[in-house]
Symmetry: C2
Subunit: 436 residues, 2 copies
């Protein structure tokens, strides 16, 4: 079974919650990993900023080093595992590792979404692997299915719940009827949200993953800067209640779409809260779980579900990549690299087709409904349903549109705001996942 | 981008519902496939039994042949796609194809489950790929995630809804309260069940998939003969109602488990109807959809969901494999082969740990509950809950056990049947998925 007597030499960059679990699994599963790779795996160095820190995993003292640059450039490392996160020094270290002949496994979504092309080009030049299953949706296998399993199919749309913190918050808002601020505090107390929750709550984390998913799904380079982004801090208890009235639930979705325009394929990637029907498979994704729903031409609708974060699940994804990359090293081959042959146009948000749910406090008098309908028609937006609720001072109109460009829908809402019989636009939210 | 000027030559065995869709996708996605593989794919022959039949796909007339043996042995074919199904002639044709230097992509679950080892040995000897994503759960990527994504983790349990026909029937029994026979007829009218539904309804199809899943998950050779099998033809409307009373739903599950026994790891694979809680992710798998729920040590709980059958979804899985296998041919390498290094003991059903839900019509008198509890205790089975329902002639006891060997549970039920105060054992069903 063993294909090489020489052990494969690994270097680990970062030993926090993920890195510690990587070290633990490398030790605990050593025999299985050896059998699956075809050679033993030997950890030759672990780069950390503060070697004096107490860690979850026992790292043999001689392996710890603060000299990450020295570790990746020593030239005898077969695979570098990067779990530092962030742009620098991660980028420089990965580039040096590739130049020095190592293959790389990384969990770094931010770096891949911002500057993946530099990394992939370096991997191509060095003829080494760059694998990143752990960068999207933690332990859930989604990178490999998109890159390989669905390589004979055509992906049309990806809808992902790819941020556990925001899903936990929205789920609690839905089940308890609480407001955003209150639930955020609870999430922070429970360790589901960080002290500074911006990256999660404002959708930056999900946007990075959307860029990676769109690139893989559509064989086109999509970066974080291409992704429209809205977080959940403006989602109110009344938005959530409004969704409930429609038989829907509010989720923060990463949405990647392919559209066949007359001049060729065009893609879009966006992150925003949206109402989805409770019957949609994504609606049952509770607490901090993640799930990615994929619509393809031949396979139809697929969903991948699991824990989207956490040291141990993320380490599982890292080690899965490690086994493939290590096998490739033994065989002296490379796996699939970046695929951008389609070079589809990346659409700005305004040109993306969406649907809106709009709730308005209005005067309770004849002609209001006609005037609201007219505002939609003026922007070429057709209406799916209008529902009037309450009377007198509590009169409310709830309008759900058909699909239109986001620009037209947004302009419609702006013009509604200026109408004198509209007291307030109490909720504006996009609607997804109901097959419209 | 093109890595080869020479097209890769494909032969297709079978041109029914799956084969026709393979032909269609090869034509419609030709440009994408060429870009993803790095060379054009050329279909050089399609073996069918009756060339005169009308088919869904337009197969160029010159390609059709009845000489399958001649097609696979001609020696200039790079990849053979087998979608005939069944044991023979599929096995002989695959073996000849490998001997003649072709890699093979197959959707043949029955053959893999019965005699996979012969095929894998032939692939190893020929140094060619044998890929089979389409053999389990249609379009749902599950073979590749188990073989590769989770290769750095340890799978403990797989629970799969892997047969669409039976899931459709059980779902309808649950939602409409109808009996098995009535729903089977409806499923046959709608094309969800075949005229002879035995392979689906009696669990043979699911058992083949369970053998393949267990082999992959536990790196151990498990064949169809190792899989305990019970179908759904005995599931009654009252079983389904009983499940509902417990907040559960009845599903036909393929269950693969790993157990760490003192003398080493032991695995089991079985197919039977089971009650699972409605809160379990598998409970929401409706109609003819499939899903595979995987529990691992590091990643935790994952689920893969999608269409488990159908020409187009199955063809998607076939083509995903084809892209990988074709790329490997260009690079002159092989992907992961069979992995059986763990060689775990395969346990018979009697030694498998399960839980039972038992409903009994009993005399409504003092001492009955104690006697029933005594029958369980005598077989070393401890009871989780007992519920008495009804009075007098309608008195019923519902007992749910803790985990015990299936042999002990089965013996307990046999001894209950002999007791004079037990008028009838109205429902016996295993209980899964509630974390016990």
């Amino acid at each position: 079974m063993n294909r090489a007597d020489r052990p494969l030499r690994l270097a680990l960059l970062g030993c926090g919650s993920v890195g510690s679990q990587v070290v633990r699994l490398l030790r605990e599963q050593a025999d299985d990993l050896t059998a699956r790779v075809g050679a033993p795996l030997e950890l030759v160095g672990v780069a950390v900023r503060r070697p004096e820190l107490q860690r979850d995993a026992e790292v043999p003292a001689g392996l710890l080093t603060t000299d990450a640059e020295g570790l990746v450039s020593r030239g005898d490392v077969d695979v570098v595992i990067e779990v530092i996160g962030g742009i620098e020094p991660a980028r420089s270290l990965i580039l040096t590792a590739l130049e020095s002949g190592a293959s790389v496994v990384t969990a770094n979504k931010a770096l891949l979404a911002e500057d993946g092309s530099t990394l992939f080009a370096a991997a191509e030049k060095a003829q080494r692997d760059l694998y990143f299953e752990a960068a999207v949706a933690g332990a859930i296998p989604i990178v490999r299915p998109l890159r390989e399993s669905l390589a004979g199919d055509r992906v049309r749309r990806v809808l992902g719940i790819v941020n556990g913190t925001t899903n936990f918050i929205l789920d609690k808002m839905d089940t308890h009827g609480s407001g955003f601020a209150e639930v955020l505090e609870e999430a922070q107390d429970l360790g589901y949200a960080e002290a500074d929750p911006t990256a999660d709550v404002e959708g930056y984390d999900a946007a990075a993953k959307a860029a990676i998913l769109a690139s893989l799904a559509f064989h086109t380079r999509v970066t974080a800067a291409d992704v429209y982004r809205e977080g959940i801090s403006e989602v109110s208890a009344s938005d959530v209640a409004s969704a409930r009235d429609m038989g829907s639930v509010v989720k923060l979705l990463a949405i990647c779409e392919l559209r066949d325009d007359p001049q060729g394929p065009a893609v879009s990637a966006r992150v925003h809260p949206a109402m989805i029907p409770r019957t949609h498979p994504l609606a049952s994704v509770r607490e901090a779980f993640n799930a990615v729903f994929v619509e393809t031409e031949a396979a139809g609708e697929l969903m991948f579900y699991g824990p989207g974060a956490g040291g141990s699940p993320t380490a599982s994804a890292v080690l899965g990549d490690l086994v493939t990359v290590a096998r490739n090293r033994l065989d002296d081959v490379r796996g699939a690299g970046e695929s951008t042959y389609a070079q589809a146009e990346v659409l700005p948000m305004g040109q993306t087709m969406t649907r809106y749910h709009v709730a308005l406090d209005v005067d309770d008098r004849a002609g209001v409904l006609a005037a609201v309908a007219h505002a939609f028609a003026e922007h070429d937006v057709s209406i799916q349903t209008v529902r009037q609720e309450g009377h007198g001072d509590d009169a409310q109109l709830v309008v759900v549109s058909h699909r239109a460009t986001d620009a037209a829908l947004s302009a419609t809402v702006e013009s509604l705001r200026t109408m004198d019989f509209v007291h307030d636009v109490t909720s504006v939210m996009r609607v997804e996942g109901d097959g419209e």
